[in-house]
Amino acid sequence: MSSIANSNNLGPLVLQSVMPSILYTPTPYMNYRNVADKASVPMHGGTTARFMRARALKPATIQINPDGIDPGLQKPQRDVIDAIMARYGTGCIINETLLVQNQDPVLAWVGDRLGVAGKQGEDLLLRDFVVSAASPIYASGGQVQDNPTNYGVSDFSNLAATLDTNNAIKFTEGLKAIDGYGSGPTRPAFYMLASCELEPDFDALTGSGFISAYNMSYPNKAIPSEFGNIFNIRILVSSENGVARGASANGRDVYYNPVLGKQALTHISQDGESMRLIYRDPYFSGAYAQNATLVIKFWQAQALTQDTGIRNSLCTRAGNYGGV
């Protein structure tokens, strides 16, 4: 039987140098947070966020009678949209290493990951809310005989026509006359939030209306997640966009790609804050245990604040391009 005292049985001494920075963690683009309007309920403001929208009045298209009798007056009305706040959070236990090592670097990177987990939570909540609440329009312009079909360029024409007919407001125009989101590389446009898996399908429409972000007139103004545009729809992609696997009429994947204008979707927080980072010092919780916790907590609600300005565009793919 060998013994560790025999140096012939010992492995070589391995030296290690820890690189100064931690490697990046692959993280999807979070597009929903970016295109959503922002609103905040005040602290102690209750559980329900209420939005009100004035209804249009009947246009004054009939001349007033010259006999001096006033026409009947109109009753102004408002529509009300309510959203109920909910509380979310997650956290980590940092175990009892405080006395034997410097915990600051651990807290730093765990705090960093918690922040991302919180932001991604906000984004996924918005994503799934839109999947549930916005009306779907099935793609019909592609060649794949399924429901929905893959994208054809006519689908983008139809989507833009639907939102324009609904008087949806494009980004970089309209309310407050400001650039609501970015100073874009295209003229005023709607946004489509799409899955990265659809990139080959968009590429296939090059020459039929699709312009890659790489080939835009001002590519330096493209948003990092921007893949391109078709007519006046700017396409932002993310690997976490909604996909219903095997959910088409013939069992293909169905992609939920909301197309929206300004103020269509609102992300509601509390007291103007994004989220709260809570660190609890290590303390004795037993005869030996001494643990710390680091958690994030946030309040959120979400609402379709202009139902006319958003549609879920559903499509499948022209083919399975592989890649894992």
Binding site: T47, T48, A56, L57, K58, P59, D79, V80, I81, D82, A83, I84, M85, A86, R87, I93, L124, L125, D128, F129, V131, S132, A133, A134, S135, P136, I137, Y138, A139, S140, G141, D146, N147, P148, T149, T165, N166, N167, G242, V243, A244, R245, G246, A247, S248, A249, N250, G251, Y256, S285, G286, A289, N291, A301, Q302, A303, L304, D307, T308, N312
Partner: protein, 376 residues
């Protein structure tokens, strides 16, 4: 006791169907006591059951009465106790072969093997072809609330007894059904319309639970193929650009409600869609607001300030775990918890884990500090 463990206890009255128990956490251990079965020992009664995460989802260890009756140990290997973390949409159960679908209202779906579904669950179907030119692909991909009528049968709220639909039979290749796991995480939302009854008010039937309340403001999206386009919120000939909305004035059941729109002169609704469905968009109704100012009213057995609720089947209200809020508002219905399935013992094959309808079952659920299973 460790610092971060969580323990919950409570009870429910069995319906004989899988029982969902919402908790503030996803337990790693569950213990059940069927008080009814423990009171009167009888063959196939399951007074005690136990599960922990390391066993795997859908398993359980049970103590059940044999023919003596004496307690023996047994295991459940499917439809036992499982946990859930309902936080993301677009998740589905396994594919099940469809054996047949009838042409009827409501259509009857028969699966090739026991489906294990419960009434109120939501499914989608695919590959609904009897031949290359016949079948009912018109309803493929549509979310349907099911009413279970047997171990391999359930109905869906759609009229397939129309000229463009052909019954499915003989387990057609590629015809599958699968469960939509968490269909109501965000409520209220967009619903597919299966029928419209026109008149001085408009009665709407949806394919799955609408979860609307009285006072809900709704908009219609009816593509021209479906007929009743006059319900659409736009265009508006009187005030161009201003959407026309309706209000829910009564809720009949989980998928039927009445809207304050006089549709007497409107075009009839047409669900007899053509066989070729490529690119077919469906008629929908979508929540856009409400005119309410108060929350859910207190009722017998409810909390003092009841939270909003869903109605997955019939008129049964299932409260969310969220805070109270104004009725009709958008709310999140995500949750953690566990499910007590209706699986049976491997030896005592008639000993049902969830017991019989009316059985009173007590539970203890625990999330331990230290577990060896990922996700806990």
């Amino acid at each position: 006791m460790a610092e971060y463990s969580r323990i919950a206890q409570g009870s429910f009255t069995s319906t004989g169907l899988p029982q969902i128990v919402n908790l503030p956490f996803q337990p790693s251990k569950v213990r059940l006591t069927n008080y009814t079965k423990a009171t009167t020992p009888a063959q196939n009664g399951v007074p005690f059951a136990y599960w922990q995460a390391e066993m795997g989802q859908g398993f359980a260890v049970i103590e059940a009465f044999n023919s003596a009756p004496a307690l023996i140990t047994d295991i459940v290997t499917s439809n036992g106790i499982s946990t859930f973390s309902a936080g993301l949409l677009l998740q589905y159960g396994p594919l099940l072969q469809i054996a047949s679908i009838s042409t009827a209202s409501a259509a009857v779906v028969t699966t090739a093997s026991p489906h294990g579904y419960a009434s109120g669950q939501v499914v989608i179907m695919q590959g609904l072809y009897q031949s290359t030119t016949t079948g009912m692909p018109q309803i493929a991909g549509v979310p349907f609330t099911i009413t279970v009528t047997g171990t391999t049968t359930f109905t869906i709220p759609w009229n397939t007894n129309q000229g463009n639909y052909t019954a499915l039979s003989g387990s057609p290749t590629g015809a599958y059904v699968k469960q939509v796991l968490y269909p109501y995480l965000f409520v209220p939302g967009a619903c597919y319309i299966s029928a419209l009854s026109l008149g001085t008010t408009t009665t709407v039937t949806t394919t799955s639970a609408h979860n609307f309340v009285v006072g809900q403001e709704v908009a219609f999206r009816v593509p021209s193929l479906w007929g009743t386009t006059q319900l659409n919120s736009l265009p508006n000939a009187v005030i161009p650009g201003s959407p026309i909305y309706g209000y829910v004035i009564s809720v009949t059941s989980y998928n039927v409600f009445v809207v304050s729109i006089n549709s007497s002169s409107y075009t009839a609704f047409n669900s007899n869609q053509a066989f070729n469905t490529a690119g077919l968009s469906y008629a929908q109704v979508v929540a856009v607001g409400d005119v309410n100012s108060g929350g859910v009213q207190i009722s017998s057995g409810s909390p003092l300030y009841p939270p909003p609720y869903t109605v997955p089947i019939s008129t049964t209200q299932v409260p969310a775990i969220s805070f109270p809020g104004i009725q009709g508002g958008y709310f999140n219905n995500s949750s953690y918890g566990f499910i007590v399935g209706n699986g049976v013992g491997a030896t005592l094959s008639s000993a049902v884990l969830v017991g019989a309808s009316g059985n009173v079952i007590y539970y203890e659920a625990e999330l331990s500090d230290l577990t060896q299973v990922d996700g806990y």
